[in-house]
């Protein structure tokens, strides 16, 4: 009881800190300097109608590179931790007829939607991360429907490695041909609103999407194939 009261006091203190910070908060009336620069000159510089994409891929491209590397690291650590262990094999059950039929029907549509989301990332809401997550969910649906079928993990490994290398190569091409690392003006920016515009952004997002999809799928498959253990 004393313990809980201490915790409650701790949380209340933290809440009071948040409250003092936020009580007087009023939304700003205008954008700050960096944001208004992005909003004003970003369109001509980057050519992406979706400014979030412009920030994620071009202005803060290094952050995205770091993020993708963190995901890669997570997938590797998961594989290291889970697959190596020994334990009783999981008896796999067949999935139901409804799931099998529905997955056959839905998988191509979901895959197509994922590809649409990351190809149109510079025009509409969406992009490599969302599209990759949608691709991964289509592949996971396939696993759920056919749990007994073997998975060729090397495809994901190869896709992931190639996409990562291409991402960095495009970044280095930016140093050589344009203004700096991950600059998107390697090819002409084009007119805003076209599918083929915003320089290299659609191509970067295609590779980011493939990389994220492969990584998320390999995270789930590593979890799936780790040995089972029963806990009291």
């Amino acid at each position: 009881m004393i313990k809980k009261l201490t915790f409650l006091a701790l949380i209340a203190g933290f809440g009071y800190m948040l409250w003092t910070g936020l009580a007087k908060y009023n939304a700003a009336e205008s954008l700050n300097r960096i944001s208004s620069y992005y909003a004003q000159d970003g369109l001509e510089e980057v050519g992406a109608a979706n400014l979030v994409t412009a920030v994620v891929v071009t202005y803060r491209g290094l952050d995205t590179l770091g993020e993708v590397s963190i995901l890669f690291l997570t997938a590797s650590i998961l594989g290291f931790f889970l697959v190596s262990g020994k334990g009783p094999k999981i008896p796999l059950q067949d999935s139901s007829e409804i799931l099998k039929t529905a997955s056959k029907l839905l998988e191509p549509i979901i895959l197509l939607f994922g590809i649409y989301v990351f190809i149109n990332g510079h025009l509409t809401p969406g992009g490599g991360f969302q599209g990759g997550a949608i691709l991964a969910s289509a592949l996971i649906l396939a696993y759920l429907a056919n749990p007994k079928e073997g998975i060729n993990k090397s495809i994901f490994r190869i896709t992931e490695s190639i996409s990562g290398v291409v991402f960095i190569l495009i970044g280095i091409l930016g140093i050589v041909l344009a203004g700096g690392f991950l600059d998107n003006r390697i090819i002409p920016v084009g007119s805003i609103g076209d599918l083929i515009s915003a320089g290299i952004i659609p191509i970067i997002y295609i590779f980011v999407g493939m990389k994220v999809g492969a990584e998320l799928t390999s995270i789930v498959t590593n979890l799936k194939h780790s040995p089972k253990n029963n806990v009291e």
Binding site: T53, A133, V220, K224
Partner: protein
């Protein structure tokens, strides 16, 4: 755009999110708690949409309430309690 309807919707969704969060913390069954945490993410994604951040809303809906629930369930199936 900000209308009264948006504000009422935000209050309803936010209260729902808090209720789901309490369920996620206090429900005895782990599977129910996991689904409740996915529902919190879903409510959060609606709030992002109200705050005019459709990109973030999409990501949160696809990753927070889709993939992370699947990951939780795979992990749970590995450490299934006998009496759960």
């Amino acid at each position: 755009m900000e209308t009264n309807l948006n504000i009422i919707l935000a209050i309803v969704i936010g209260v729902l999110a808090l209720v789901f969060a309490i369920i996620a913390i206090y429900h005895k069954k782990l599977s129910v708690a996991i689904i409740a945490s996915g529902a919190v993410s879903l409510m959060a994604s609606i709030l992002f949409l109200l705050l005019s951040a459709p990109d973030v809303a999409m990501t949160e809906a696809a990753i927070g309430s889709g993939l992370s629930v699947i990951i939780f369930f795979y992990a749970l199936s590995k450490i299934r309690k006998q009496h759960d």
